[in-house]
């Protein structure tokens, strides 16, 4: 076995521009988008016909026919058909989790290279038959006699013809993610203005990054779309202030379509490798994946917010690496909602919360906000669930690489089911 581990290098990434649901990619499925994203990565790094150690990717909203989504996408791509692949599904944590999985195999010497990715479509979402009808159809399928068949069919009721549409709802609470976030926002007293300000900065930062060509080697246009179409370069606090709250109840509701992420279609991929593999092919090393941590909270009975798990994961990760929250040059906190980012930061600054909930002697403290999401995040790009992790890993790796060697970045991504995935990158 390999007793020694090494840090996996992030060579580069590729994604297609993210599109608001039912827009530019309305007719594209997950496999189309993931295949195109892999092909863009192949073209950027000259991987035509090459075999990489593995491709790990996934989707949150997935058709049952896509049971082997990643492998099928590899087969449709210009990668060698000898490249193994598997699907991962951890809600919005999927993209970062795949990067961690691939990086860990590289760290252990089990593979020399791999691609991590994710894709999601809210436009081409799977629609299932009604649960009662499904049971009826299954009994019909197993019926052997005419009598049994007739009996099974007699169970069909008109109401069963209504299909089951996937909803952005927590199965155990019946609340949407936005409603959960609104509870947390209220609990942490996150104001409307600071949410709108964070959203504005996300749009401004993303627009500036596009303007200076930062995404030239991170994005490949798809189906005529060349930039994330959720980006509003000309939005303003005044415009954001006019939007009506959509989550939360009463006059105190603060969460609008402007400071929440929209349903989005898109895909992303990241090429990881050992330093040796990259050097042998004259490929760049933007950064290394240093360490990662996942955590989960009990949002059903535990009195913790649905999207607060990263708050718990980060101190564990910091302690293991002997770092403080202030030891980072860049922070990438996924903007599921502006209020989520703000609640996360506020929680880390709160002595009572850090002591009681996180078991820390002292709060993690504040961060330098000018280092947060410097090239925009999900509020501006949109958030195709499983594709967000790959977007953030590639964006942060390039950000660190541009800043020079020895720079450090922290990624924090919240996920449905009360989970969170966090990681450290270093150039």
């Amino acid at each position: 076995m390999a007793p020694q581990t090494r840090k996996a290098a992030i060579v580069g990434g590729n994604r297609i521009p993210f599109a608001r649901a039912n827009g530019a990619y309305a007719r594209a499925g997950n496999q189309d988008m993931l295949t195109a994203t892999l092909d863009g990565l192949v073209a950027r790094f000259g991987l035509q016909g090459r075999t990489v150690g593995e491709v790990a990717a996934g989707a949150v909203l997935k058709h049952s026919r896509d049971f082997n989504l990643t492998r099928e996408s590899v087969l449709g791509s210009r990668l060698s058909a000898a490249t193994p692949a598997y699907d991962v599904q951890q809600a919005c944590g999927t993209g970062l989790e795949t990067a961690v999985l691939v990086a860990n195999k590289i760290a252990l010497g089990q593979i020399e290279s791999g691609i991590a990715g994710g894709v999601d479509t809210a436009s081409d979402a799977p629609i299932a038959v009604n649960e009662d009808l499904r049971r009826t159809l299954i009994s019909l399928g197993s019926a052997r006699t005419v009598q049994q068949r007739l009996k099974a069919l007699s169970g069909v009721r008109p109401g069963q013809l209504l299909p089951e549409v996937p909803r952005n709802v927590e199965p155990r609470t019946g609340l949407s993610m936005g409603e959960h976030a609104a509870i947390t926002a209220k609990e942490w007293e996150i104001g409307r203005e600071e949410q709108d300000a964070l959203a504005l900065r996300s749009h401004q930062n993303l627009a500036a990054a596009y303007g200076r060509g930062f995404f030239d080697d991170l994005v490949t246009p798809f189906l005529g779309l060349t930039r994330d179409d959720n980006l509003r370069p000309d939005t303003s606090l005044e415009k954001l202030a006019t939007l009506r709250p959509v989550f939360g109840a009463g006059g105190s509701a603060t969460m609008t379509a402007g400071n929440s992420t929209p349903l989005t279609d898109g895909a992303s991929a990241v090429l990881l490798a050992s330093d040796e593999w990259a050097a042998a092919r004259d490929l760049p090393v933007l950064a290394h994946l240093v360490d990662a941590q996942t955590a989960a909270v009990d949002h059903v009975h535990g009195g913790e917010g649905l999207l607060m798990a990263p708050v718990h994961a980060v101190p564990v990760l910091l302690a293991r690496n002997g770092l403080t929250l202030q030891d980072f040059d860049f922070y990438e906190v996924h903007e599921a909602f502006a209020s989520t980012v703000l609640a996360t930061l506020k929680a880390w600054e709160n002595p009572a919360y850090c002591k009681e909930r996180l078991g820390l002697d002292a709060p993690l403290g504040p961060i330098d906000r000018s280092r947060l999401n410097v090239h925009g995040s999900s509020l501006a790009t949109g958030h195709p669930f499983a594709a967000t992790g790959g977007r953030i890993v590639a964006t942060l790796a390039k950000t660190l690489s541009e800043a020079g060697p020895g720079k450090r970045g922290l990624i924090s991504i919240c996920a449905a089911g009360g989970q969170g995935v966090v990681a450290i990158l270093e150039s």
């Binding site: 195109a36 092909d39 863009g40 192949v42 073209a43 950027r44 790094f45 000259g46 035509q48 016909g49 210009r78 060509g213 995404f215 030239d216 080697d217 994005v219 490949t220 246009p221 798809f222 189906l223 005529g224 060349t226 004259d282 490929l283 760049p284």
Partner: protein, 445 residues
Amino acid sequence: MSDWYRDFANSGVGTTITRQLGLPRPAVLRRYEPGQPLLPGPALVGSAGEGRLRDVVTGVLTAAGVRADGGRDDERLSAVVLDATGLTGPAQLAAAHELLAPAVRRLGPSARVLVLAEPPADAATVAQAAARQALEGLVRSVAKELRHGATANLVLVPAGAEAALAGPLRFFLSGRSAYVDGQVLTLTAAEVPAGDDPDRPLAGRVAVVTGAARGIGAAIARVLARDGAHVVAVDVPAAGESLAQVANAVGGTAVALDITAADAGPRLARQLQARHGGLDVVVHNAGITRDKLLVNMDADRWNAVMAVNLQAQLDVTQALLDADGVLRSGARVVSVSSQSGIAGNRGQTNYAASKAGIIGMVRAWASEFAGRGATINAVAPGFIVTEMTATMPLGTREVGSRINSLQQGGLPVDVAETIAWLAQPGSAGVNGQVVRVCGQSVLGA
């Protein structure tokens, strides 16, 4: 894209009709495919005066397995090569007539007439200069008389440049030069590396192609890759989707880059150095049109065309020259000019100016490149059938595509083949030249 008229004229009933009506009868041109023989049939080699290139010519023909004995009297000739380097005065031109007249009668389809001479400017006497210059009139006229896809070209070989002839000779005889007709190419003395694999002359070379996402650029990428090069395909970020498809189709690398950006040259140089250890071939193909009559043209149209078509070529080339060790020895730069840059074109003052500027650029840079053992040349496409020409009105398109000696539009691959030839190590003696790929267009001739 199909040429419906050419296909019709070559059909059974079409042959009869076009012949009786005296309509143009464009031929299906012999185009290069890997493994294809240099010439399908025998060649006739002759000379006017005491030529000095006969050995080079028969050497190239023999090495390619071509019979250089002129074949039997009843056999179609695939090429006739006239060595006119021994001309001393007009009297000896009679020998040219004597050789060519019966030979042209025997030419097969897509045959080649190639005349080799010395540059008039190097002549020892006025009579010699006159005789050498006379060849240009002869070649340009015979090119107009030839039928069935045959072409005629003149190569001027100064004393001392004999070693540089083999590569150009092979190009003009082969199917690679299908749409190059009625042209005069002047060689210069240069050290030519030995032993190209004729089927993969660019093996191991790294080639950058700008504007590679579609059209002629994509064809250039395909031909360079076919000839063995690793292609770095460059285009604007917005064209990234088709750029990736081109790069993947040719096993190359896609680089999304706006070549007019201030740091485009250094960025490209850094990437080529880091990822490929340098580069051997640069094809400046990216270009845009913003047509308007001069009186109606605003500054934006003028400036955009200049920035992309000319200034970016100057800047990127300079950046590559300046970047230490990026441009490897024996480097080849090929710029895509245009017939408009030679003949001018109504509504294209900006475009024609930029494309003429390219010609000035390669001529001015040639000696510096020669000093590095490198070359810089331009190709000037004529009417090339692309997605862009497909949107032209039928009448304009038909006239545009027929007013040349081959009576048809060229294909993107014809431009690409000429560029790939200029990119070869064996083209060391072609420098500062403008090669028209226009089927001997009447425009600007």
